[in-house]
């Protein structure tokens, strides 16, 4: 049975697209046929993060409007042949998406794919609403920062009341917390909300913590999902997240300050 995962946050710039690219790649690398869809019509970027921007011919809106078939629009990833990308339209506006159209495309994808990852746009308007509407699981991407935590809480309210599952009185969407851009050193200094603080406020199941990492920018510069950078802390953290989501029991990492005594006193950064 296929599962639809929405990667959402409310606030922009917290790492939704980075996360969508990483977990979609991780699921595919684990042997599950996965599709990742960009719902940010007019401001698409998933293609750039996945490194397939020059191979986009047809997009999500073309498929909804019947101007292209799903197979014509899906782009097979260059690193993993079980991963496919459905890009958003860059020229239309967000009203080009309709509930019926999105539902139809997802139903078609469900026949062939194990996981369908929906990369939500920021905000709570149409694109964001449709990205979460049909979801089975929600990955709520949050930064340890006041505006991001507040927006995530707002998003949780919407997930619980305005989804297909909520409207049909089905089992609610399973919600998971992904805390990104985490800096254990700053938490230790009392300058940043800790994992426990954010969990106290949002009461969500923690799927994993992604540390603030140079590897994320390096990965987006080159158009390869950061999870493929297996030497990097962020890549490993996303690897853990995918494994945990698939039911493996992995202890949490990257939460504690590992810096040595000497470096702490005589500075670095």
């Amino acid at each position: 049975m296929a599962r639809i995962i929405v990667v959402t946050s409310g606030k922009g710039g917290v790492g939704k697209t980075t996360t969508s690219a990483a977990i979609a790649m991780g699921l595919a690398k684990k042997g599950h046929k996965t599709a990742v869809i960009d719902f940010d019509v007019g401001l698409r970027n998933l293609d750039l993060i996945m490194g397939c921007e020059r191979r986009v011919v047809y997009d999500f809106v073309n498929v909804i409007n019947g101007e292209a078939t799903l197979n014509q629009a899906l782009i097979r990833d260059k690193n993993c042949n079980l991963l496919y990308i459905l890009p958003a339209s860059q020229t239309r506006d967000k009203d080009a998406l309709s509930k019926e159209g999105v539902g139809r495309v997802l139903d078609e994808l469900k026949k062939d794919f194990k996981y369908i990852v929906c990369d939500s746009p920021a905000g709570i308007e149409k694109g964001a609403h449709l990205a979460m509407y049909f979801a089975d699981d929600a990955f709520v991407v949050t930064n340890p920062e006041v505006s991001s935590v507040r927006d995530s809480d707002r998003m949780l309210g919407i997930l619980a009341s305005k989804s297909y599952r909520a409207e049909q009185n089905q089992e609610p969407i399973k919600e998971y917390l992904l805390l990104t851009r985490y800096s254990p050193e700053r938490v230790k200094l009392g300058e940043m909300l800790s994992v426990e603080d954010v969990q106290d406020i949002l009461s969500l199941h923690l799927l994993g913590v992604i540390p603030e990492s140079k590897s994320v920018l390096n990965a987006s510069n080159s158009g390869t999902p950061v999870i493929l950078d297996e030497k990097s802390d962020a890549g490993q953290a996303y690897g853990d997240i995918v494994a945990r989501y698939l039911g493996e029991n992995r202890p949490h990492r990257f939460i504690d300050d590992k810096k040595g005594f000497f470096r702490k006193f005589f500075g670095s950064k």
């Binding site: 200094l189 300058e191 909300l193 603080d197």
Partner: protein, 88 residues
């Protein structure tokens, strides 16, 4: 963090301030989200009706909504103008 910073560490951490502010805000926003969306309209229309008969101001009426497991309560509070000031 440098050696100098170590000696001038501040008393209240900004993170604990952030947590406190968020807890209050999130609790407030969650409770107001559960209110029915017709409340402001109801308040406006009730005020118009009352103003036909009594000379009351904009803030003379308050409508609040509470919900627990068994029941939903709609509380309506109208403050009528003081009789003494009315006569003069």
């Amino acid at each position: 963090m440098s050696l100098l910073d170590y000696f001038k560490s501040s008393k209240v951490s900004s993170a604990s301030l952030a947590k406190e502010r968020l807890q209050i805000l999130v609790a407030h926003e969650r409770s107001s989200l559960n209110q029915p969306s017709y409340l402001p309209q109801l308040q406006k229309e009730l005020l118009e009706v009352i103003q036909k008969y009594v000379n009351v101001g904009q803030d003379a009426i308050s409508v609040s909504f509470e919900q627990d497991e068994n029941q939903e309560t709609l509380e309506l509070n109208i403050t009528l103008p003081d009789l003494i000031t009315k006569k003069t």
